[in-house]
Symmetry: C2
């Protein structure tokens, strides 16, 4: 299974914010849409960071509630690990474990084309296991 | 593979807080220890909730920064889904996907005995896949 399988199900939509957006507005965006991170893009639509729920909690822990009125760029992760639609789910699992991250933006020809969360990966692995089980049952039934 | 395999590696430690602890102190606890949730226990050490990074972001989105000086009990999830050391990793993946959660406290004989995150589950699946691959290579080499 590959990233393209996940994108075919969930679509290519990605929530983005600009580096100057206030942290409080970004927290509202995450909560409103039930998502765990947003990709930060500059005026030229290039990826310049990613901001997750964890970054918000760490911002509060470092700077208190005043962090919420500061810009996203002060707290985002700047080293963004990305993947492509052709990457395998196993490769994603390795990237997420190695980097201790839960979200991987999908990039195609330099353009943002989706995002995969650790929840999407686990959901995909369950679907895969169920499909294998069904195939085995069908094989036994016709054997 | 079972939950006990994960606990053998990561140990049985679980960070807990009381329902009356302020959200701001809980955010600091999460950040300081690099964890994504804490189990909320009452005076009798019974589990009464769980509070995650997501709950903190949702609290900020609903009530603004004043949420940070309110108690954990106002924002924790009260319906806590738990698992046991004997549960399979596949079962955990199903529980996490179905309930859209990333942490499962491990309970044995009514007592809290560990916690497993979605990151732990994915790490375990990679280790499993690598072990299978090594076994296959060894089989081919000696074949």
């Amino acid at each position: 299974m590959h990233v393209s399988t996940i994108l075919a199900q969930k679509g290519n939509a990605v929530y983005t914010v600009e580096p100057g957006q206030m942290l409080t507005d970004t927290a509202s965006l995450l909560a409103k849409n039930g998502i765990g991170s947003v990709v930060v893009v500059d005026a030229g639509k290039d990826i310049c960071g990613i901001l997750s729920e964890r970054d918000i909690v760490h911002a509060l822990a470092s700077d208190g509630t005043s962090a919420m009125s500061r810009p996203v760029k002060d707290y985002m992760s700047k080293d963004v690990v990305t993947c492509t639609a052709e990457d395998s789910i196993n490769h994603l699992m390795e990237l997420m474990t190695k980097n201790r991250i839960r979200h991987l933006p999908v990039v195609e020809a330099g353009r943002l084309n989706g995002i995969v969360s650790i929840g999407d990966v686990v959901k995909c692995r369950i679907a895969e296991a169920e499909a294998e089980s069904d195939a085995l049952k069908a094989y036994i039934a016709t054997g």
